[in-house]
Symmetry: C2
Subunit: 453 residues, 2 copies
């Protein structure tokens, strides 16, 4: 280990950090999971060559490498522990190129999503992926997890917004995947394979992103309260069935709404009341908001609608207050299942059943437009209690049974690795595992993550 460290220091000098604070920080993301022990060092790469040098040393010494960005992940995928090199690309924040005519940008991975979008706004452009963590999460991390967000039903996920990737392989070689043109089907789509691969295939050192023009027109907001979460879910389904495509459609169940009202000091909602908050945008935003309001009224909702962006933000503030409201009551494990939209009411029924069976509270918010639910487990203390994992196990199996998936946008990381084969099946699990070995024959890239059982 000391040999690895001296090799790193020789090659990378002051970019190798072994201060106890840095080593400890590198053990954790925002999932609550903390890796066992401290990593050998944190390497703050500032260039592609730094990443290559690190991987050459790791490869020569068979030392595990955990790539890190802003460590805002929610599955423990980027946590580095004993015997591992934490390779941070957080300092690689340059925007190398913006091409409004080609609707693309080439960026380094350590740039924050929000910083990118602030720069792009000057060109009238944006990168659509919008995880709730966009202010604090890196583009590289968005790519590594295959991030989603609130706008996905209308504007797509990361997979839809990346044209090409520059990747350093386990042995330090650099490959350039994908293309700069809108179309391109040369060979296998390794760009898509990298997206969501959570550090198991290589280190993304550059990304060619597919941009959109900023959407002109208004942003209108509709907030509707329903007597039950099932009624709210039926309301959201009615919006989709009417052929309307909101930019955002967020569903808060009763426990979530109640927690927010308490936290913000608002009048308590009616028992069981759930809320749907919808935003429409673009040239027809007003007409669409009015149509959404009509559909939700018809579905039994009590509806407020505004065409004013600032007033809409006030309505939407209730939704945004969820996480702080929950954190005020305990430690929060944010879960992340996704089901076909039509199965959302059944998934909410399952959550109610699991709450009852395990005696745990699971306030849930859903990106209702795309069927992605975030059930939040609240507990006290630092470690996730066994009963919470038992309830989560039941929840994951229910989601898979309903034709859904373990994770809509957070990834597998450490926390969900034990359920991976349940969803993939043993044959596919093995196939995926073997693919990682093509990229990484020694198994030094993020071992113990995703493919463990």
């Amino acid at each position: 280990m000391s040999d690895v460290l001296s090799l790193l220091r020789e090659a990378l000098g002051p970019r190798v950090d072994t201060s106890p604070e840095s080593l400890d920080a590198a053990r954790a993301d925002r999932s609550g999971h903390v890796a066992e022990g401290r990593p050998i060092a944190v390497v703050y790469a500032e260039s592609v060559e730094d990443v290559q040098a690190t991987l050459r040393i790791a490869s020569a010494t068979a030392t595990p490498v955990v790539t890190q960005g802003a460590r805002t992940g929610l599955a423990g995928a980027a946590n580095a522990g004993a015997g591992e090199i934490a390779l941070s690309v957080r300092r690689m924040t340059r925007i190398l190129e913006v091409r409004p005519d080609d609707l693309l940008a080439v960026v380094e991975p350590g740039l924050l999503n929000a910083e990118l979008n602030a720069q792009l706004a000057a060109y009238g452009l944006w990168w659509a992926p919008d995880p709730a963590s966009r202010d604090i999460a890196t583009v590289g991390g968005n790519i590594a997890t295959g991030a989603g967000g609130l706008l996905c039903a209308k504007y797509g996920v990361v997979r839809d917004a990346v044209l090409g990737l520059d990747v350093v392989l386990a042995d330090g070689r650099l490959v350039r995947l994908g293309h700069r043109s809108v179309k391109g089907v040369t060979g296998l789509d390794l760009t898509a394979l990298m997206i969501g691969s959570e550090g198991t295939l290589g280190v993304v050192v550059g990304a060619t992103l597919k941009l959109r023009r900023l959407v002109p027109g208004d942003v209108c907001t509709v907030a509707a309260t329903f007597p039950s979460v099932r009624a709210a879910a039926a309301g959201s389904a009615a919006v989709t069935a009417a052929g309307l495509q909101p930019a955002i459609m967020e569903l808060l169940d009763a426990a979530s709404l109640d927690a927010i009202h308490r936290h913000l000091g608002l009048l308590a909602p009616l028992a069981g009341a759930s809320q749907l908050t919808v935003q429409t945008d673009g040239p027809a935003a007003r007409e669409e908001a009015d149509a959404v309001a009509a559909v939700l009224t018809g579905a039994g909702g009590t509806v407020a609608v505004t065409h004013d962006r600032a007033e809409g933000e006030r309505l939407f503030a209730v939704r945004r207050a969820l996480l702080p409201s929950l954190q005020a009551t305990g430690t929060v494990l944010v879960e992340d299942v996704s089901v076909p939209r039509s199965r959302m009411p059944e998934m909410f029924d399952e959550i109610v059943r699991i709450e009852r069976e395990y005696g745990v509270a699971i306030p849930t918010v859903a990106h209702a437009g795309d069927g992605n639910l975030h059930p939040n487990f609240i507990y006290t203390g630092d470690a996730v209690p066994e009963v919470v994992w038992a309830a989560a196990d039941d929840l994951f199996r229910a989601a898979i049974r309903l034709g859904g998936t373990l994770t809509g946008e957070h990834g597998i990381g450490v926390l969900k690795a034990r359920w991976l084969a349940d969803e993939l099946g043993d044959d596919q699990w093995e196939l995926q595992r073997r693919i990682t070995r093509v990229f990484d024959p020694q198994g030094i890239l993020n071992p113990g993550k995703v493919f463990t059982r």
Copy 2:
């Protein structure tokens, strides 16, 4: 070989066809390429089990398998020759499920794209990929090539329109890849890896497709004539730069326009004249068409615009007449490079240079909205002359030099395998090749295609 045949007959009975007509037909797609020799048999699979049985026999006897659909490919990827089993999925044409609430359909691979869309129209839905061959090409073939089409800049390519795939592996095992939910990041994205893999990784036996609602509103058409192809390309760039997003934007160069006018018996266009044909759709189709017309007039075009769908189809008929017009003059090799939109004028310059240097005519049409050009090489006789390949070689290298790609939507197949490493680089070529070996350790899936050099 006779052993393989008897095993196939035993397992699959009358679905094994060895008539000379069928064997000969299985040797060719629409690329002009014909495989050497006749395949052992054509197996017309009617079920997943038929595909599995075929692959088990192929695997046990180390016999190559070439999966076929409607054999409308343009790269020779599905041509079967001596010693190979042609595995046709063309009879697997069922639509297993349509879910308007989840905006998805589950279909078998042999269904024609146009047949699928005719069925979906009853639900007010469509599957967006629209290769020009949609009336004659299968969904499975669209997936195997990663097909594009005319509408891609606005509505995406196949990669954007598939949620999951059921795949039979080389050894006959069935795996279910992907998901039914809008979001899902469980493990590696093998669905994306399958798309465009041209029969080298497995046999697609079922596809969960992401659908769109039929676009309401008008379809409006703008046809603009420019004094040169460069001016037309600049006109299309001006449309994109104005933030307009047409559904279709097709560019015909002077040689193409001239050939069409001759074929249709129209008055000859002015020397050098090129044409841009644009269609807009959706609720704002009229306003957008008028805006496009204004931009193109400003860019020096002579513009006709119509808000009438039937009249628009008449204007568009000129574009649609290209292939028959060219085929009236000789044998046509349809090429398929793609470049960043901003490089299109330079790519047209390169085509002019190549025409001059090699003394060949290369009438070209471009999907100008996304930078995908189809240079057409015209020659006499069946075999592609060496000078055409030399010119094509120059063309491919020019596209790569401009930041583009060998193939926007047709695939590599047999015809472009020798240029694959030029675009991918040797390291990536080798990585991709090794991935195919994970799926297919014996190398029995479509050998001699894509990864040969």
